[in-house]
Assembly symmetry: C2
Homo-oligomer: 551 residues x 2
């Protein structure tokens, strides 16, 4: 059986998409495109699994203990699903053994296995969606899309980028150098030697999307991978890993090429793993402090996505209503708990031009507040957009902001969710602030928190937004201007600090979304992280080219 | 004028060579292939320049002071050539200004300029050769080849690898996502934003070969470059930079895109530059201690080639004479002052098989010693192979080894050079040692120093050679075996620690030589350095992909 051949169409389409950077997905994002039976069955998945052990993993690295402390933000109760507690030395030993085999397979074989895995994961999209809902608090639709098709896209992108990198050069040749009287002939072979066991450290909000690129990048380059999910968001990635292990098993491969390593907040194992000599590659998504610790580890290849402070610069618009609605949606989507969500909105004190009409600062702000209110108060769109708040810490952060020191333009309030009456929800708090109060808004305030910052003019808006990226990093920057030279100024300023800019997004275009095969997620050039999905570096640093020569 | 077009043949041949990894050079290594007049003129170049100022640079970063402390290893006197002393703040400011322009040119334009530069440098190959002789101590032939055609090859390889990386993806597209009722259209552009000013820190032995890949990699990716040569090997790279500046000037480009920054051993400026915030990229070739310091600098992209300890494992051979001659040449070439030169020769105490005949340990050693003596005593080949010793420190190191503690198998002695009677020369010292005296041979002993290490068997030879790479790094490993399974064992062991192996090199195949477009120089995977010439990483880490989106 030639796995590569079986999946040739997907692979060659992906190769083309990576070059052309146009829209591409083999995994439609609309749930209706998938088997309705699976959709219905999945509704019973969480209720059936609750307070039970997750038995699907094939790995044998475990102690006899079962652990798990996930809490559903929709139910606000522990879901009681338990996972095998790993024994660290066994985990690492099994990964080493698996690697001795996996690393000797060739990239044609590996890409076939990896696409096969994605095809199998596809059958679990609905299960993964419910698992994502009840761990992250994402709405059903976002859970389905982000942890399902969009994750598969990103995983495929990483795998195919790896496949391309590994096949950029010939792997064997007869090198012949003419020396006049005779030719010097040397036979040469090149091998991409994998660096070693990879550790993928997951986050609590996007447990699949942010983890699979690392797993697939490690596997395509011949490395094995240990996945250490956030203790509060295990189930979605556990299903993914179980499906991957099943495919390995079906092909008589060592299932320990990818392993799940679960821990709890009380007994964390991340540092123990990260600092272990056998771990050579670390992919991390999460807070800046821990991210910087990971980056500081010696003799490791480290890829990070940390926090950033994302800005919106409003200079001039064509249609303030469309702009306000777009901003409202971007800020409300998953209650601002996306790394790509905006936090700081810069508006000049003199107001802005909207379709040649002058809008005062207050009118501009009002339009945004109104759009947010309309969205959050919409009984259908509100809860479906906002989802739920992942942790109590975010809840507390928002409550703490409602104090006398802050000028609350829009207070946060719980959003009624008809389906989940116990859901932990909050609408965004919007705080008005002057540009000079930099110390207040110059940090990531995770969750549905917006600062509307009054600046002297767009020049100052740009200046501060740039400074913020330089100091704190950013994953996105959104800008509204109808003036071409202002657009160029914004682009130059933000690009100089390696932040991408999205201009004049309205309608269905949202800054939150970074599409596989097209958008690089994180540039890797500022404090928001050192890695970029998916550039050459994300792949090439996972292995070493070694050339042997034979006379 | 379309520069890219003018050089299309060279560029497309190089692209093909990088993929095919076969032999390729647009710059023949035989001096006879070049203009005889240039060869004759060049003989007067050093005598005319001696005790004069080097006036060819077009840069204006300088103070009024002229400095220079190069000493010719062939004359053992200072050559008295002075270079403008740079004013650091001016140097950095000018680099920044140059970058604001250079970074906006496109890769088609840049690759054309860079190939044009190489074509101009070609006309100076003979000058560069004499400059290399009288700073590094390399023989004329090696000076010509290493600093001339081979350097140009490596520079071209880096430039074309950069060109390929920058053009792997489309830079602009209309992204169209079907959303059922309508299509979402977003216009997207991607820019490879250069990271900033690059600093290339040169070494004293290969001032051109080890520096031009960094310069050309920086320039093709839109960065500018400041070259800080070793204070004892300035002239060769000064000529290269002067030619590059002339090409920039001819095309009305800012000559400060590449600048020379000379210092002296007494007043070094390397750390001042390396630690300056404006320097974003550092390429370093040299000792491990300083290399590790450079690697430790925060917020810099660092590429290093440091020292390593290279081993030869002798297990069994077809023709001991051919093997001994090959080893002798590799060890004597430029008096062992190459980063690729062998240092430790592992031979089993029971001896080896040579063409089905058993050779004792002593017979094997004798063959090697004899081959070294024959080469060093040959009045023509000896001095032409060994060249001269670059520094007094190397001289002292070798003298110090002649003591009672060491078992001297072959004593070092000066080599008579008819042309340069004052040349600083030394034949290799060969020391016999037992495997267990690991602490003696487990460090780089720079210069013509060989240890012949008696091991229990080839298994132990492999084991120690591997341990050495793991602890100290290596750029090459040479192995002689006629047994396929032993060959596989050696290959696996050494590759696991990311050292390449050259098997059974005899005749004109030498481990010292790493050919552009084919051999990766340094793997980047062990302590000998973190960079590899020229893999994707060597290019991709110099810029950041930033994607802007437009509605």
């Amino acid at each position: 059986m030639n796995l590569r051949k079986k999946h040739d169409q997907i692979i060659s389409d992906a190769i083309k998409a990576i070059h052309d950077r146009g829209y591409y997905t083999p995994y439609p994002e609309n749930p209706k495109a998938y088997n309705e039976d699976l959709a219905n069955e999945a509704k019973r998945f969480i209720p059936m699994l609750m307070n039970n052990n997750f038995n699907e993993l094939l790995q044998t690295n475990t102690t006899t203990e079962w652990i798990g402390t996930e809490v559903s933000p929709y139910l606000q109760t522990g879901i009681g699903i338990k996972y095998p507690k790993p024994e660290l030395s066994k985990l690492l030993d099994l990964s080493k053994v698996a690697m001795s085999n996996w690393s000797t397979t060739d990239s044609d074989f590996r890409i076939g296995i990896l696409v096969e895995m994605l095809e199998k994961i596809k059958n679990r999209f609905f299960d993964i969606a419910y698992a994502t809902m009840h761990s992250t608090g994402q709405s059903f639709m976002m859970s389905f899309q982000a942890s399902g098709p969009h994750s598969n896209d990103r995983a495929l992108e990483a795998a195919v980028m790896g496949y391309l990198e590994l096949n950029r050069f010939i792997h064997e040749t007869d090198w012949v150098k003419p020396l006049g009287k005779f030719d010097l002939k040397i036979h040469k072979k090149w091998k991409a030697i994998p660096k070693g066991i990879g550790l993928a450290i997951g986050c609590s909000t996007f447990p699949v999307w942010n983890t699979v690129p690392a797993i697939f990048a490690n596997l395509i380059t011949g490395n094995t991978c240990i996945v250490k999910p956030h203790p509060k968001a295990i189930l979605p990635i556990a299903i993914v890993i179980a499906e991957m292990q099943k495919v390995l098993h079906e092909h008589n491969l060592d299932v320990h090429a990818v392993q799940l390593a679960v821990d709890t907040l009380e007994s964390p194992i991340t540092k123990l793993l990260a600092e272990n000599e056998s771990i050579k590659i670390i992919d991390f998504t999460g807070g800046s402090e821990f991210g910087s610790y990971v980056e500081s580890l010696q003799a490791k290849t480290v890829f990070t996505e940390k926090a950033g402070v994302n800005s919106i610069i409003i200079d001039s618009v064509n249609d303030i209503k469309a702009v306000a609605q777009n901003i409202a949606f971007s800020a409300c989507l998953y209650s601002g708990q996306m790394c790509t969500a905006p936090q700081n909105i810069f508006i000049p004190s003199v107001g802005i031009k909207s379709n040649e009409v002058n809008l005062t600062f207050d009118e501009t702000v009002s339009a945004i507040l109104q759009a947010i209110q309309e969205l959050t108060d919409n009984p259908k769109a509100g809860p479906a957009t906002l989802g739920a708040i992942q942790t109590d810490a975010t809840l507390r952060r928002i409550k703490d902001l409602h104090n006398d020191r802050n000028k609350i333009l829009l207070a946060s309030h719980p959003i009624k969710n008809e389906e989940f009456t116990d859901a932990r929800t909050l609408s965004p708090v919007v705080i008005g602030i002057d540009a000079e109060d930099y110390e207040v808004y110059n940090k990531e305030c995770f969750g549905p928190i917006l600062f509307i910052i009054k600046t002297n003019n767009t020049t100052q808006s740009i200046e501060i937004a740039k400074k913020l990226v330089k100091e704190k990093g950013a994953l996105t920057c959104s800008a509204y201007t109808t003036d071409l030279s202002t657009q160029q100024n914004i682009e130059e300023a933000m690009n100089e600090v390696f932040a991408p800019v999205s201009f004049n997004f309205t309608g269905a275009a949202f800054i939150n979304s970074h599409a596989a095969f097209s958008d690089f997620h994180v540039t890797g050039g500022n404090a928001a992280g050192n890695a970029s999905l998916t550039n050459s570096e994300f792949i090439a640093k996972r292995y070493v080219w070694v050339g042997n020569r034979y006379c």
